[in-house]
Symmetry: C2
Subunit: 335 residues, 2 copies
């Protein structure tokens, strides 16, 4: 039994064929359970694979096969620092792993040029599909995605036209619903507190929807505070303090997301400001901690995992091209 391979060379399908005393095609058929083969052949191959510790080379397999890799998808997300995107990935991988599909991920840091570079890099692996975030891309990105002859799914945002399939919810509608909630509760001196809008376009869309709905009831934003850098509780806390210094009469704050809102809540606790009596707080995302707060945060829950799952489903089935998964307004106790 010469199980030992010359060092440096990995076991190949040919080795397995030789060891099992069958042809290469038979090994291939057995391994993929594709085509017909005898029980005896199956057993001998299985034995040889186990004995030699054979690991198929998918580079070769996909190259020889249809040309496009069936077991790889490319995913581009703008960030890993915001829980939203890991949650997306979670939904995705949960569904894809079940089918033996792997994700190659790229993080664009909200930079369209990096996104384009990543799309090119990912396409070079000939993935079965490309999953992007949002609907706004460089023309070059769109051209690449179109030319790649792969399924393209754009996640999270449905406010606009997509390249191929779109799975998400309307950020404008979320913003509008949030505004109606606050206005309906009688708040009138409302400010916005967010992180950098130039990079997070979806936060911008929410704010646009928010202001529009405010305008519909004759209100305008009292003020807005845009913090540089990513969203975080620390940023939300500092932001609310800055906002209060400028607009001491504000009675409600709409945050770009729950992390920022948590920071705002901490600021209120520290300053002894009664929530929502003195200041009402409204978030976005519906993260886990929002429900565990002493006063559950008023926010909008977004179907992050479900977006990932549906996006995965889009790849396999030729399914519908546009899925709006909606959102859920959580009344909470802070607004």
């Amino acid at each position: 039994m010469d199980d030992i391979q010359p060092p440096g060379r990995l076991v190949t399908l040919t080795d397995v064929a030789r060891a099992a005393g069958v042809g290469e095609s038979t090994v291939s058929r057995v391994l993929r359970n594709h085509g017909s083969y005898s029980k005896r052949a199956g057993e001998r191959v299985a034995e040889a694979v186990a004995r030699l510790g054979y690991v198929p080379n998918r580079l070769a397999g996909n190259l020889a096969g249809s040309g496009a890799s069936a077991q790889l998808v490319g995913v581009v997300i703008p960030s890993l620092a915001n829980v939203v995107f890991p949650d997306l990935l979670r939904g995705l991988t949960a569904s894809l792993d079940a089918e033996g599909i792997q994700c190659v991920i790229g993080v664009s840091d909200y930079d369209p040029d990096r996104e384009e570079a990543l799309v090119a890099a990912l396409l070079s692996w000939r993935p079965a599909a490309l999953l992007l975030t949002g609907l706004e891309h460089n023309p070059g990105t769109v051209a690449l995605a179109r030319a790649g002859s792969v399924r393209v799914v754009e996640m999270i945002d449905t406010d606009g036209d997509g390249i191929d399939a779109v799975v998400g919810f309307s950020n404008r509608a979320v913003g509008a619903a949030s505004a109606r909630h606050l206005a309906g509760r009688g708040y009138r001196r409302i400010a916005y507190l967010g992180h950098d809008l130039a990079v997070d376009l979806r936060a911008g869309k929410r704010l646009a929807g928010f202001e529009e709905a405010l305008a519909d009831v004759g209100l305008a934003l009292l003020g807005r505070e845009i913090r540089p850098g990513p969203s975080s509780p620390a940023s939300g806390r500092a932001g609310l303090e800055a906002l209060l210094a400028r607009h001491s009469d504000l009675d409600a704050v709409y945050f770009s997301n729950d992390d920022m809102a948590l920071g705002g809540y901490f600021a209120c606790l520290s300053a002894g400001l009664v929530v929502p009596g003195r200041i009402a707080l409204f978030g976005f995302n519906g993260l886990d901690f929002a429900a565990a707060m002493p006063q559950p945060l008023s926010t909008v829950r977004t179907p992050r995992l479900e977006i990932g799952r549906q996006a995965a489903a889009c790849l396999t089935g030729g399914g519908p091209k546009r899925i709006d998964l909606g959102y859920e307004l959580i009344e909470g106790a802070t607004a």
Copy 2:
């Protein structure tokens, strides 16, 4: 100019060579900037690439090349629900993107068998390296990793022996330091509140270190509450309430991480328990929100991003085999 390709067939290097009027090898040399070629050849190839919208096929490239893909690494993490792992990925991708290396990720859900299956799946892409989490694996996983002739880096935990390279910190030491801090501050009736230890082995190591250090000063854990499921503020809140019901006299709680601790803090706020006067809280991870709380959380900051970065550095350089990045105890105001 027949730029239009027959539909279904992607542009290949041969197409580029023909369009540029040079040989295939020259195109290859130009694209990889490897070997020598004339300025004229470079320009003609660049022009043809742009005109045809050529995207190299790395499946073919890596197959033909050294055999092992130089631009792919496989990463296996146990979860995406805990911020720790996205943070790891963040550090990783930040470093790897700069070198044009892509990550293929697999999520094991803390299941060693799934981990083994993922390792096999990832190895089939012939990655340049394999990045695993923790030091405990199935024998099969270890055998696969060894046979794969790839660099293996185990991240986060340094309490034990690794397969190849190890980057992280000592969880036992963190637990011990936390215990010494609490004991030093005079807390005596200390309980532990964590999520499922059977799956999160590193949390188990912290607890072991914690109890050991307590024993060193003649103390023992007053009680422990292990919550099923993943860690979360909601779980921490419910857990602390359960713990208080059983041990109304406890004066400090060591949490399995900051998320759980945040939930505990919320429980104290809700119940009107003064922190740390009535109950002291101590976390783990040093997440962003910890510093933004009305009373900064006492916790231990772990070098998550740095672990990712160093792990990436391990891949490229043949660097040291074992890197302990330490931790930082943050005194905070809750313990």
